[in-house]
Amino acid sequence: MSDLNQNMIEKYRNSFLKEVEANVEEGEWVKMCMQCGVCSGSCPLGKHWAHPPQEIFMMIRAGQREAVLSSDAMWMCTSCYNCIVRCPRELPITHIMHGLAHYARRLGLAPKGQPTMAFAQIFWDNMMKAGRVNELKLGLSLYYKDGFVQGIKNSLANMKLGQNMIKAKRMNAVEFFGGHGVKDVSGLQKMIRKAQELEDARIAKYGK
């Protein structure tokens, strides 16, 4: 567990809600939840999660820090926005879910090998190379993430999909060799690095 995690525990002793408000994107909305249940009832993924959104919000208020941050739940959100559209209090639920996931990862509490997290990392690394996503490479990295043999299996299973994407010009086989990027890749990378620095500085007060 990271020092950042220890420091946050010290700082927000007894108030996980305050910790969420201060550190999680859109976290200040959590207290507005009136526990009506509409988001959980509307979430198409809900039955596959340990804790649907409204339960997560209740757990935050109940101070169940460990259980929330190490949960798989936030990582299951597909950003369908059903919950946001129906929430009678207009909570930006989707964004809070992603904010919590991000925060959990920062603190090193996200479940190990969580597939959405792994995919997000692959997506990010892929995108940072050329400033745009290389779909072919993204697909391949995802298929091969659990090793070579599993990768071949995955690729074969999805061959039809890949061929169709190429046919529909959604993917280009030539992209495997380099692929095209944005005009000013280094400029973009610099910009992202700066944003990263700013965020790191904000949170460095508590981390090591």
Binding site: M34, Q35, C36, G37, V38, S40, G41, S42, G46, K47, H51, P52, Q54, E55, V85, R86, P88, R89, E90
Partner: protein, 426 residues
């Protein structure tokens, strides 16, 4: 031409629901001259469309009857029906109101014998039953209507049907040449009691009110439970007329919701608890489910809630329903999560009643008089309103008891204004 005797010591009351009637009678019984202007062809407002009253479960008819008797006996009170205030100029103590009166085509000679209604065949959706039934083109708006006089639907005018109605009348009560008129009424103070309307349930898209016939509103359910209503008091499914024994209520339908009405409508929890009785009284083997966020039955209403809760066949599910779908037999299926234990459900019912909330009947921006309203559209007790005082549910989502109390207060304020006028005029 309608003659109305009025001076700037007259109190004008706009809206003849329970609040407007109360304010008008209270003022008239202190000896003030009062003109009551009501848009509908009869007095009583939305209360006349209720089957029973909470908390006593008595019939609204008896309260209305007492008020009607008081109105008939009072020489200080002038009642204009089918009339609307279209403008107000001047200031507290000396206003002039313009009032538009729509023709009823039936005069005071009417004995409500009903022959004209029998003679015509044209039918229209019955607004008294929220369109759940039809009425004739010559009709008595409801069995308790005051004034007890028929109305000719203007849509029939110029047709044989209108002539048939006229020919059927033995009392020379039908006058097809009546015109709408606009009159000016001087007055010193105004009581504004235009009431509320149910929130438009079709706008709550996930509940399918506009798509599923077995999803109805609480105001429609009141009509259904009334023996003189569209189903003769039988609680049935609109889709196939079968008995509705497994009934679900969805609370806060359109209230406490930033996508709809911001406010809690205050009466819909109690209205549902009352309507639970309608179902359990109708069928010994009924099952009722109430889906709620929290039950707001305050003060003495707590008892009422406790009694309903104690019934074996009524269950309370703490959940704002996420969506309603319909199965092949037109049964509504409710989807959501029971927040007590986080259980997901897909529950099938015979009939779903949406507990829709109350919003002001006059839309923001369409008040014919300058008036301060809050963000929900209800009238504020602001000094800028001068001699115009809100009464009853035009000021907030109120039940009858609170509406009547509020209306009595408004009458007192109006009396103070006209007394001041009387003082300065000697």
């Amino acid at each position: 031409m309608t003659e109305v005797v009025a001076t700037n010591q007259t109190i004008l009351v706009v809206g003849g629901g329970i609040s407007g009637m109360t304010a008008a009678l209270e003022a008239a019984e202190t000896g003030k001259q009062v003109v009551l202007v009501e848009k509908r062809p009869y007095l009583g407002g939305r209360v006349s469309q209720l089957h029973k009253y909470f908390p006593k479960l008595c019939f609204p008819a008896c309260g209305l009857e007492i008020n009607q008797r008081r109105a008939k006996m009072n020489p200080n009170l002038t009642i204009l029906t089918m009339a609307e205030v279209t403008g107000l100029s001047g200031e507290a103590g000396s206003y002039t109101a313009t009032v538009k009166i729509n023709p009823r085509y039936v005069n005071e000679n009417c004995t409500a014998c009903g022959e004209c209604g029998k003679a015509v065949s044209a039918e229209f959706p019955n607004e008294f039953d929220y369109g759940l039934s039809k009425r004739k083109g010559a009709y008595l708006p409801n069995t308790m209507a005051h004034p007890m006089r028929y109305v000719i639907d203007p849509a029939m005018l110029g047709s044989d049907e209108a002539q048939k109605a006229k020919d059927a009348c033995k009392y020379n009560a039908i006058d097809l040449d009546m015109q709408d008129e606009e009159i000016s009424i001087p007055c010193g103070a105004v009581v504004w009691a235009t009431g509320w309307k149910p929130y438009d349930a079709a706008r709550i898209q996930p509940y399918g009110y506009d798509r599923f016939s077995n999803v109805i509103t609480n105001v429609e359910f009141e009509r259904m439970a009334d023996p003189s209503g569209p189903t003769g008091g039988r609680i049935i499914r609109p889709s196939d007329g079968k008995e509705a024994k497994n009934v679900a209520f969805i609370q806060c339908a359109g209230s406490r919701d930033r996508n709809h009405l911001l406010h809690c409508s205050r009466i819909c929890c109690m209205a549902t608890l009352k309507q639970c009785h309608y179902v359990t009284d109708a069928y010994a083997d009924a099952t009722v489910s109430v889906y709620y966020i929290d039950i707001r039955a305050i003060d003495r209403f707590e008892d009422f809630y406790a009694k309903v809760k104690a019934k074996d066949n009524v269950s309370f599910i703490k959940s704002k329903v996420a969506s309603v779908t319909q199965d092949k037999e037109a049964n509504p299926v409710l989807h959501g999560v029971n927040t007590e234990g986080y259980h997901r459900y897909a529950n099938t019912h015979d009939l779903v009643v949406l507990a829709v909330g109350m919003e002001p009947s006059v839309e923001a921006g369409s008040f014919p008089v300058p008036i301060v309203i809050n963000r929900e559209g209800f009238i504020e007790p602001a000094s800028e309103n001068g001699g115009v005082f809100a009464a009853g549910s035009a000021s907030d989502a109120l039940d009858v008891n609170r509406s009547v109390q509020h209306a009595t207060g408004a009458a007192l304020r109006a009396i103070q204004v006209v007394n001041r006028v009387a003082g300065t005029e000697g």
